[in-house]
Amino acid sequence: MGIVSSIIQFARICRAAGIPVSPAEVLDAVEQTDRIDLAEEGQFRTVLKANFLKNHRDGDTFAKLYDFFFHHLSNMGCRQRAPATRENLLNILANQGNGLTEEADDEKLLKLLARDPLRYLALLLKIQSSAPDMPEIDLSRLSPGGETSLAHARRPRMDARFRELLAREFPSGDESLRFYLQEYLLNALPDGEITDAEKGARPIVPIHFPSGPARRSPANLGEIPFQQLTEAEAQAVHAVISRLARKYKDRITRRDRVSRKGSVDIRRTLRNAARYDGVPMKLAWRRRLPQKPKIVALCDVSYSVWAAVPFMLNILYSLQDCFRQVQAFVFIARVAPVSDTFARRETMAAIDEVMTSYQLHYPRNAVYGDEKNRDPGDRDPEISDYGTALAQFLGKFSDVLDHRTTLIILGDGRCNFLAPRSDLLGKIKEKCRRVVWLNPEPEVLWGDGDSEILSYRPHIQELRPCSNLRELAAFVSDLFAVLLYSDVQK
């Protein structure tokens, strides 16, 4: 019994930490514990790992959670049940509405938590799932007059207390563990509603957006320029993008199925028929292997374009199964490949990592003479320099281009009055099948000021604005139309 409930709890903690564990997997794990020697911890751990962890990128998280759950909290609350403690807590919770001062309640609760957070957690779980083996808990007792144990107004305060408590209890410097437990406790609290402020504070969205003023009217998401999206809207855009990606994946699958038929290959059919006395027993289809294109993206991550990049990367990497290969490079003045990051981490986490390393590069006023002001340790100069970037890309990375490659450049073409060197783009164009330039600036600004986009134009097959979700979606739709429904090579 003890082992079963700890496995169930561990599964819940895994889920809270973002590792999806299905009930079937929990059942499997429980069943398999009968087959192993429980005295050998390695075996127990392997059982959990083989059933719960299905993506090796989550390996570190799993190891931490396991260590935390089974080692740091070795005095597992569920091994020896402690009715006294539970009663104690119940009393506190029940008395809450009965005139006791709030301060005292909080103190008691926190003391209890400090002694044994896991037991508290176990209790909360029980309360939440109202498990059948806990008949002694009367749920109505917990919510006198429809009020839940913790009043809404007091949640932020509890939040702070949790943080403080956890910081004290687990001073190992392991932020993520503390975060998981805290998140978990907050989620587990029998308090249905979470205020908007708290929602915003949750670090689910990895992309750091400037927290602009909240938009009152629900504007059309597709039309809001990327740079003006609030964090919540950015989240919504990412959700739309993943829906889009699924749609295109399905479309590709359907197309594959259709291409299995195609037209009859007369020559091969006749050759086959010779084996059957001239009877065409078996039709041979002129089968076209799906031409999977390769995508190379070159994204400007300077301040002016920065906001659009995460969406671009998200959609490309969400769709990478549909392509032969997706490779991405980012640049301000120097080109850096980022595909490794995406191979190592989940798409959103990888985007976060890439963007975080560039987010502080705000434009400087000095355009000329920037060289001497620059901190020698700085990895990248702050202003975008398309000429240098193109030269570098051509010199160092041109081997990623081939006749099946579509090069997507995301940038505003603002060269800060440096040499645009559009001839280099011409050379790049010769090496690949298509060059598409997406400009996050509205069309009226093209060619204005230091925008050199028009000088690049002759070397681009397609130049289109991409300042909001609608335009991005239109681009992806056309990308698929051109790439997959035509057989035209080059």
């Binding site: 392997t46 083989a50 059933n51 799906p290 199964d321």
Partner: protein
């Protein structure tokens, strides 16, 4: 013969030439006793396929292998009708068929008659089983290796799901075939495509990473019996060192073995830097990796503080 326990699994696998970590042995044992498919992921060349082969040898079962590729379909994985054979039989039985028809007056009656004989031509006799059907219908328990499942299309993956959940297949003309024995299924993947959650949920998951230096030494010693222990230690030391570099493709276990073989051919007892550089092509398969590794070792040689240099002086 199934595995009886985890210790026995370790021993049996070792006897058949596979050094397993406790984790690998535990998962293999569990997959064996619970009859759940095993999904193995990991970098290329760490012995994913080898694991399945060894399990087959250790259990004394036949290994049935299905190599996946882009565009693999049911005809290649499941079964195909042997049209040629059917036609040949029709030719041979022409007269017999003719006899059946001649007694009938009307066309309808003749059609009915031939419909009654249809089963003779759509029977197991004319079916060519492909790996999956073979594994299901095998009279003895087998090991089914579905190799590089990530290369197949999502459609095929969905089809596999049906097989892996019920261990049965349906052939429209013959009905449903249920497995006589549940095969030990091993799926391998290089993660070029993320497998669907539904497939993953049905499997036990095992991620095999590059082996620890100790395990790798054991592997080398097992594959080359009688090899000098100190040499093994040095070989593994160098490979581990190379793996710590930031390379496009890190040398894998099978490349360690290849390198060891090369060194044995060259009758090397020591591994000086020059020899490493000369034979580096066995370990590094990208030009940039080659250059980087060379630079790394030359730098080490330059500083002179490399442990390898010291090793050279010991007899």
């Amino acid at each position: 013969m199934d595995f009886q326990g985890i210790d026995e699994t370790v021993k049996k696998l070792e006897r058949h030439g596979y050094i397993s970590s406790p984790e690998i042995a535990t998962v293999v044992f569990l997959a064996n006793v619970t009859g759940k498919p095993l999904l193995v992921e990991g970098p290329a060349g760490v012995g994913k396929t080898e694991l399945a082969k060894t399990v087959a040898r250790a259990l004394g079962r036949e290994l049935i292998r299905l190599q996946c590729y882009e565009g693999i379909d049911e005809a290649k994985a499941l079964y195909e009708w042997e049209y040629g054979k059917q036609l040949l039989y029709t030719q041979m039985l022409k007269e017999k068929i003719h006899d059946i028809f001649t007694v009938e007056d009307t066309l309808t009656a003749a059609v009915q008659k031939i419909a009654a004989q249809e089963n003779a031509f759509f029977s197991e006799h004319f079916i060519q089983p492909r790996p999956l059907l073979k594994a299901i219908t095998a009279p003895e328990p087998v090991v089914l290796l579905i190799d590089e499942v990530d290369k197949s299309d999502p459609e095929f993956e969905a089809f596999l799901l049906e097989l892996l959940s019920d261990y049965q297949l349906s052939i429209p003309e013959l009905g449903t075939k249920t497995a006589r024995h549940i095969p030990f299924v091993v799926l391998t993947s290089n993660s070029t495509r993320e497998m669907s959650d539904t497939l993953k949920r049905r499997c036990l998951y095992l991620y095999i990473d590059y082996p620890s230096p100790e395990r790798e030494q054991d592997i080398v010693a097992l594959k080359f019996p009688g090899i000098d222990e100190r040499l093994v230690e040095k070989i593994v030391g160098v490979v581990t060192d190379i793996r710590s570099l930031d390379l496009k493709k890190k040398p894998c276990t099978s490349e360690t073995l290849d390198w060891t073989r090369s060194l044995l051919v060259l009758q090397a007892t020591e591994i000086p830097i020059e020899l490493i550089i000369q034979t580096l092509n066995v370990l590094c398969k990208h030009r940039s990796d080659l250059d980087q590794t060379k630079g790394h070792f030359l730098e080490k040689a330059g500083t002179g503080s490399a442990p390898l240099e010291k090793a050279k002086t010991t007899p």
